[in-house]
Amino acid sequence: MSSSMTDQPMPETASKPPPGITGTGLSAGAGFWAILLPVVAVLATVPLLSGGYATVLLIEVMIFGILATGLNFLLGHMGYVSFCQGAFLGCGAYFTAVATLFWGWPVWAAMAAAVAAAGLVALLIGMFVMRTRSIQFLLITLAFGEMFHTAAIKVRATGGDDGMRGIPRLDLSALGLEARDDSVFFVVVLVVFAAAMIALKLLTVSRFGRIVAGIRESETRMRSLGYETWGYRVAAFAVAGLFGGLAGALWAQYARFVNPELMTWQISGEALLMVIIGGTRNFFGPFLGALFFVLAKAWLATVTDAYLIVFGLLFVLVVAFLEGGISGLLGRFLRLGRRQAGRIGGEA
């Protein structure tokens, strides 16, 4: 931690971003593109090379990648554990469904509105829940998430517990393409995914992002520097909600079906699981976690019926021993490699 904090307002004049999302040399500037571009390139080849199952699995990975990375803006970047990311997933999904099925909106408009709606809901809820911190915040987000779940189950107009089906996908007829084809839809999701990653990264390194990281470091210090931290915390909550909603809007089109299950605390817990397994300290950690989670779950199901047992155990082991998750592990290997190549490695 820098000791120059006492004199100057840190975020304005810092020469490098405050500790938080850095730490493994994989994150700032060139590092970000060095990962994003190859990932996107590899993903882009998938629908061409493989059968439908891999395509479909990776669509899920990208959607959850957006969900988890959005959640990590709250968790890794600001240090708040939110147990209601599923509620925003559900909000985005349901809004997309309702806008297209009941109001007849074109899908692109429904998606945009769904994201805005989820962000707005997060903003409003955030104003309440950000009156708490730490453990109380965790528990209250869990309760609020359940409130959404209850509402979704009760409201019969949106299918109640049975959900709604028949949600259309983006209309690409202008390009002569059919998003009904999963390979085409894959590319749509890929584009949105890349855009979302870029947007979240920009948010992370922006002034806003650096203040949020400062809140994780020490909220009292930020307040003493004159920042109205409650407002920033609410805004960060809204960011998580926004991207949760985006994941939801994509999910509604992928499955063409929505139901209240999306809003349960179990789904919110799975989002947390992805973030923790992947690593909170690295920007791409949550995406790695989503990749691991979806693929491991699919593979495990072919081997055993006891998915809960294995996953619970895995979660426990990762939290206990793998601080920094998979990305932390990778980061350590990469740094080791660089040192051996003669270069003095990056940040501590």
Binding site: Y53, A54, E146, K154, D161, D162, N259, E261
Partner: protein
Amino acid sequence: MLKPKSRIPGAIAAAACALSLMSPAQAQDRSVTVGLMLPYTGVFAQLARDLEDGWRLALDEYGGEVAGYQVVLLTEDTEGSAQTALQKAQKLIRSDDAQVLAGVVSSAAAIALAEVAQNERIPFVAANAVADELTGASCNPYVARTSFSANALQSAVGQYLAESGVARVVTGADDYSAGHAMIEGFARGFEGAGGEILEQSFTPLGQTGDFGPLLMRARQLGAEAIYTFYTGTEAVQIVKQHAAFGLRGDIPLLGAVWLYDETLWPAMEDNMIGATDFTVYSHTLETPASERFEAAFEAMYGRLPIAGNAMGYDNGVAVLEGLARAIEANGGEIPEDRVAVIEELTALTLDSPRGPLHFNASHNAVVDEIYVVEVVEGENGPAQRFLAAIPYGQDLPGCDME
């Protein structure tokens, strides 16, 4: 460093391996794969096994093959979740080359799969999910159901109760879409036959089970019976609490199919003895089809069949017979568009252990009758005693098949 003799065959082999992992398996001999999706983990784990047992009896009766194709039955765990059901369906379709999907208990999972069925053009034959919408607003040419719909069941029971002299009831169900749908179905039959529902009570879903207020309300209003829709955990709780409040002799607790389900009996501590139950199948049924089924099931598993076994059996027979006829009608080959499977199976009349079973225009199974039984103390523990057969009800309209 020695160069290996030739790297090309190895490379080709490796590439072929990689590609084969990613693309659907090609059928070696003539075989057809059916994907049976059931909630093997979760509170309906026993029902999942019961349904599978019935299905496998059907498969056994067909000798494991239809029209010259060997049947490969793949079972997948839906975990009671619609999201998981979707993922498993994708795997079955894209990785396992499944030709038909079957099973599913949860209505949400069924609706999600109805969407998959229509988009992927693969037949889905629901074994248990009872939401009216499945063969109502969500109906489509690729979906059929072999169990029953909520409205048909509940209205039949309601009508019977009113006609058998029960005039005033209080109803109880959880406050969510299925709860309301079930009670509405009951009300159509009950009130339609002259009964009076004194009060419809809805309990909040997901909160700690306390049915005291509902039970006391029934007593306070002077109801002759309490008619409910509760399943699993809550069914056990309300039956126990009903007895604890001293109502067993006074105001009977009633519910169709799920309330006094056989799998719940161990948890009910004899409080279900003397209760009237409404079911779609009981082994005490003395029809030729039921006796035949009972004998075959007992021979294969060493125990008497229950309703879940019968429903699994019907689902298996429908799928296998539908496949057989579709293949034969297509000159001995699996048809390109497997909607033919649904078309064939919905044209069938099955000699089901539940009674003669045919399909209506919405692809929903229709039986002639359902059964009233009493739960009694038998020689080997609780058992059912057959009371009466009552006419089955009507499905709700709403299906607009394209």
